[in-house]
């Protein structure tokens, strides 16, 4: 109090610290009502607040993270599989020439030309041209069985 008086005197103020009563009135019974209001709001906010257990929250986070990681992995596998399939559908790029020849030799009876060539290649293939000489005809008919020809006609 003395400090304040001295301070005001130093400032040169004539404000009298003794006359500090407020110029307003507080409504009668206000503080009792205010206390009740505060406590009601406090209880409401406590009962409305979700009960968050950090342990549960952590395990939930782990589960979500795991699912997310699995989804990312699955997507990654699918994406790269699609990509490699579109570039080299049969994986032929990975085979060397010797392997291809070995495969063809082993399965020559089961492989037809249309499995190895496109339609355009087939059309332009010399084997389907008209034979030019008797020798060509002989080569073509070398393995033909007369019995088969009778069945055709």
């Amino acid at each position: 109090m003395e400090d304040l008086r001295d301070e005001l005197k130093n400032i040169g103020s004539r404000l009298d610290p003794a006359g500090k009563n407020e110029s307003w009135d507080i409504p009668e019974g206000y503080f009792g009502e205010m206390q009740n209001m505060v406590l009601v709001q406090l209880h409401e906010s406590k009962s409305n607040r979700p009960n968050v257990n950090l342990r549960n929250l952590r395990s939930g986070l782990y589960a979500v993270s795991g699912i997310a990681a699995m989804l990312i992995l699955a997507f990654g596998i699918w994406f790269f599989a699609e990509r490699s399939h579109s570039i080299d559908p049969a994986g032929i790029q990975e085979l060397d020439q010797d392997q291809v020849y070995a495969y063809l030799e082993e399965n020559i009876d089961e492989i037809s030309l249309d499995m190895l060539m496109t339609d355009k290649q087939m059309e332009s293939e010399i084997l389907f041209d008209q034979p030019q000489s008797e020798e060509d005809w002989d080569v073509l008919l070398e393995d033909v069985d007369l019995h088969d020809l009778n069945n055709i006609f």
Binding site: I11, R14, G19, K20, W24, Q35, V38, Q41, L42, S45
Partner: protein, 187 residues
Amino acid sequence: MMAAEKDEQILAMIKSGGNPERGYRMLMDAYQLPLYRHIRRMVQSHEDADDVLQNTFLKVFRNIANFEERSSLYTWIFKIASNEAFTFIKKNNRHAAFFDKGENADELESRSVSTSQLNGEQIREMLHVAMEYLPVRQKQVFSLRYFEEMDYRQMSAVLETSEGALKASFHHAVKKIEDFIKSKNLY
């Protein structure tokens, strides 16, 4: 009972969890009047002061478990109240800046000045009119120092401002109030 002892008793009652409601009521009984007066000087109307006071107590009770007692309970509560009042004023734009009259300044001013012989009550009203012209932070400084007679160390903790700046602010506030009253030929 000394204020500090009473604060310890209140804190123990609330934090121990035995009977927190009794502790809440004890705390409100101890602080409601000084807090109400401090807030009311900032916001002027009773309804606004009621809003801010309720919010202050709610904030106090929701955070009291985390109160580490580095400062006194009194300082901590006044800090919350000052921040709540400041936020309320800024949010509702009800702050009466210097030379920008507050909502009930006209009424008080005309009532006070119309009487040539001012009594004590009218002088107090005039003081509150003059306070309406202060910037909100300066008003808080004046309120805490002049009305609550808080020392600068505590004020520094409440308003998070250096003691030197607070002294300067109080000095300016007093000068502005004096100038205002002088301009109304009250001296």
